[in-house]
Symmetry: C2
Subunit: 198 residues, 2 copies
Amino acid sequence: MNQERRDRLRDAAMAVLAEAGGRGLTHRAVDSGADVPPGTAKNYFPTRDALLRAVAERCLEQYRELAARSAGGPPPADREALTAMLGALLADVAGPGRSRLLAYLELQAEAARRPWLSAVLDPIAAADFAGLEAAQLAAGLPVTRERAATVTLALHAAIPHLLADGPATLAAAGLDDPVRFARNLLAAVYPEAGAAGD
Amino acid sequence: MNQERRDRLRDAAMAVLAEAGGRGLTHRAVDSGADVPPGTAKNYFPTRDALLRAVAERCLEQYRELAARSAGGPPPADREALTAMLGALLADVAGPGRSRLLAYLELQAEAARRPWLSAVLDPIAAADFAGLEAAQLAAGLPVTRERAATVTLALHAAIPHLLADGPATLAAAGLDDPVRFARNLLAAVYPEAGAAGD
């Protein structure tokens, strides 16, 4: 087994799941997406569940790479820096992150029927709560666990709404402008001095 | 075409999508789930997209029925009543609402690839923001559009986390107890007097 080929197959499986859905995730589609001879994907990932696990593990790795890269830079020093960071996270959903997040959405639905898959995804989501709480603390906001979780949940909910791109929903959620959305979300949970009683 | 049979097929299609995922949604599975002769589902809903549309329209109808039933009762008169209402909504996810919400999760992922499906779902999600904002107003909370949307988004994000049932995620989100979650969510967005500066 060749690690470079294995990674190429996993990336292809993620792209197939994102672009064709659970129904399109077949060994043949993964071979074709990875541009390898027929039968290769089946050799590395013999069952459909093995394909799903490969995508989930690739999601987990990509999440950790993103988190490590983000931890390598300075943490958000204040509300404005955190607003920019969250706005960039949301802008990524419609941009380079679309395929990964759409694959994640498919995995999440599959996880409701497959406890083993839920167990693979569980640490990704849990780490996201911890990482975003740390970012809110770094920004100097008056964090409580509940406030931090509220911000994280609002960001999680934003993802499928952004991917589905329904105009009435985006307007109702305030998601038509990601940076304004991030600013308003922080203002809703952490009102600025003098704005608490309005 | 017989309306009773049509409804039965639509309910079966929703259950199949929920329990077997997008991959399992075939005409044969719907015939079998509805206990009708082979070929019946194909007769009513000739394509797979027609099946998806049938499930989406059934979701929309069920959402409207739920909203109408809820509007028939008294609106939540205060914070405690709203807490109970939101806690009940979340408890429903793991109970009678599981099939509908799991089907909705599948549709949401499909909608990211199908603009026509996104257009069917868009009014459901948008109505949810309006309905939950009205409930927060009825409860006498100091509503702004952004605060109300934050509460609604946190509830939307809770659904896939509850369906996937990952223990670390539920603990991190505070979702291990739906009523306590609802109380804490309202406290995070609408701090009670004297608690604003903690």
